[in-house]
């Protein structure tokens, strides 16, 4: 056995005393074989993911060649005249995701603050557990509830209420069908709030106690201490949770397609029906007659993949930055 390492080494092999045994020794012990086998499986994941990206790229070739960059801002989706544009779907995807964040972030952050700062630990743990269960509910069940509860509610209560109070805003004008951008955003918000709560709560729990105690010592109220000393410290981690939730919202398919109205149009009103990338792929993939049509749908899949890829990457970076113990208040 080699002597204890002088520096901290995070790689897995350090646990086993580094490479002090010869290759032959390791082979005979069976370790190299085990190493290779597990490495192959790990490399398999790499292979799988590369294949996925490659398939998306290759199968969208027809559409990319024909439409080029115009694909992103063409507003028509016309299978008869074979003119396909991603604009309505990108719009719908972004609008529903952003509006759902507008609903979910304040709600989620408030709940996370309560659970991390104000509730007794055991209570907080049980409630956090229940909220994690919410995250496990399948999307299609949210869709089921969306169709039979949120849609009628939107039509009879929420819609008229918004129109009566905020009807002067263009986003609340126009006919209210029950299905539409707002309904989809509400359902999405319920689906992503558990992610915001669970990650934010964990991040808030890592904030050093000195932060809070210093503020309290200076005469701050509990809320002031929380809002001005604790939360800013966890700012990057909370941002990370928001990005995670956003990525989840972008890719959500079933619940959205059941309540959004399935109309590829860009509209200012939140009551209008819309469409998202995931929803149109789900509805039209098995019936895209014509190779250009199918290719356009796959190109949409590629766009969605890229969007979630970038967002997830940013989210990971932000969460890692906080966990590494470096939340600076400024």
């Amino acid at each position: 056995m080699s002597s204890a390492p002088a520096t901290i080494d995070n790689s897995a092999t350090s646990h086993y005393g580094g490479g002090s045994r010869s290759f032959v020794r390791r082979w005979l012990d069976g370790d190299e074989v085990a190493h290779i086998i597990t490495l192959l499986f790990a490399a398999g994941i790499l292979l799988l993911t590369s294949m996925l990206v490659w398939e998306l790229w290759v199968n969208s070739h027809l559409s990319r060649a024909k439409f080029g960059w115009d694909f992103f801002w063409t507003r028509t989706w016309d299978p008869i005249f074979e003119n396909f544009g991603a604009a309505p779907f990108i719009y719908g995807t972004l609008v529903t995701a952003l509006v759902s964040l507008l609903i979910a972030v304040p709600l989620g952050l408030a709940a996370a603050i309560f659970l991390a700062e104000l509730a007794p630990r055991k209570f907080s743990d049980s409630v956090a557990f229940l909220i994690d269960l919410l995250a496990a509910v399948p999307s299609v069940i949210y869709g089921l509830l969306g169709i039979f509860i949120v849609v009628p509610l939107m039509r009879t209560t929420i819609g008229p209420f918004l129109k009566a109070t905020l009807g002067f805003l263009p986003i609340f004008q126009g006919p209210n069908y029950g299905v539409g951008f707002l309904t989809a955003s509400i359902v999405l918000a319920i689906m992503i709030v558990p992610y915001i709560i669970s990650v934010s709560r964990e991040v808030l729990l890592t904030v050093p106690r000195e932060q809070r105690e210093a503020a309290l010592a200076m005469g701050a109220t509990r809320w002031e201490a929380t809002w001005q000393a604790v939360v800013p410290w966890a700012r990057t981690g909370i941002m990370g949770s928001i990005f995670l939730a956003l990525a989840r919202a972008l890719g959500e398919t079933m619940a959205v397609t059941m309540v959004i109205g399935n109309d590829p149009k860009i509209a200012a009103s939140l009551f209008a029906p819309g469409y998202t990338i995931a929803a149109v792929i789900a509805n039209e993939f098995t019936e895209a007659t014509g190779n250009l049509y199918l290719s356009a749908l796959i190109e949409l899949g590629l766009v969605l993949f890229l969007m979630t890829f970038i967002l997830n990457g940013l989210a990971r970076l932000l969460i890692m930055a906080t966990e590494r113990g470096g939340g600076r208040p400024s």
Binding site: M1, S11, A12, T13, H15, Y16, R26, D29, G30, D31, V33, A34, I37, T38, L39, F41, A42, A43, G44, I45, T49, M51, L52, L56, N59, P106, G108, A111, F114, A119, A136, V137, P138, S139, V140, I141, L144, I147, F148, I149, I190, I197, T221, R222, W223, E224, W227, L250, G251, T253, M254, A278, I281, F285, I298, G301, L304, T308, L311, N312
Partner: protein
């Protein structure tokens, strides 16, 4: 002046604390609302017919989802045997063997795969397992779900393996065990509770997935023998029935939702309880 400011700060404090409490309670109550609605609307339709009969032709009442329940089980079985070993092995690699850069690449790729929207996984599985053989099949559905199971399993396996204290490894090696023997006979069994629960949670997660099955497993109103035919599944049936106009189908959709959610929740709650019990045991 100072008095006013104090009052304002105190009121704000009280209001905000209450609001955050309300928010937390509100979110939790959604869970009970969901369960309540499912039980209320679906509970009455959960009769023996539901579990034993095949779907009836459109418009006729009665009929059940026996084939969808078995279908979901078969798909999960495939997802398990195709995806879990990969996840386990890769997790072992990352925790026990990996070098720095390659591990980073694998972890990043796994996270990437985890974040891919399920509909895109469906497209991928379609080109991988449906097009070459020119038909929809249980196998293709299983492949799609397996791809989704892998990243979840990798992460949980790695975490639990890493949580095993170094002392156990050093102890085994001091006794002369080779690395792989240590892993196989000491580390894995010690982490097995956590790893198994991670696997169960991964399966519970994909049990509710609908989108990737839409163009891989398709659907079937009969029994699906073997692995090469289209197959019905609970999530797809819920979707199909929910958007249709038939009231009987709506009732069945609620019932199916209740069954699905119950299974998912049992898996989640059960694994949590097992985990906490295991933690106190091995400590």
């Amino acid at each position: 002046m100072n008095q006013l400011r104090m009052v304002w700060r105190k009121t704000l404090n009280y209001v905000m604390l209450t609001l955050t409490g309300v928010a937390a309670l509100g979110v939790v109550s959604v869970l009970f609302l969901i369960l309540g609605y499912l039980i209320f609307n679906g509970g009455s339709s959960l009769n023996l017919n539901f579990f034993t009969q095949l779907p009836k032709p459109v418009g006729e009442t009665g009929g059940g989802m026996a084939n969808a329940i078995v279908g979901s089980l078969k798909l999960l079985f495939l997802a398990a045997i195709l995806g879990l070993p990969v996840g386990l092995m890769a997790g072992v690699y990352l925790a026990e063997f990996g070098g720095k850069t390659f591990s980073f690449v694998i972890r990043y790729t796994t996270d990437l795969l985890n974040g891919v929207p399920s509909i895109v996984i469906g497209i991928f599985a379609y080109s991988l397992a449906v097009l070459p053989v020119k038909h929809f099949s249980t196998f293709a559905g299983g492949v799609a779900l397996a791809i989704m199971v892998i990243p979840i399993t990798v992460r949980s396996t790695e975490e639990f393996l890493k949580s095993i204290p170094i002392s156990m490894r050093e102890g085994a090696m001091a006794l002369g065990a080779s690395k792989w023997k240590t892993i196989a006979t000491v580390i894995l069994p010690a982490a097995s509770g956590g790893i198994l629960t991670g696997m169960l949670l991964a399966l519970a997660r994909v049990a509710g997935e609908t989108a990737p099955l839409l163009f891989t497993a398709f659907s079937n109103q009969f029994w699906s023998p073997g692995w090469g035919q289209p197959i019905a599944s609970l999530p797809v049936m819920i979707y199909t029935y929910a958007i249709a106009p038939y009231d009987d189908w709506h009732r069945q959709a609620w019932a199916a939702g209740l069954v699905l959610l119950t299974l998912v929740l049992i898996a989640n709650v059960g694994t949590r309880m097992l985990l906490s019990r295991g933690a106190t045991r091995s400590a």
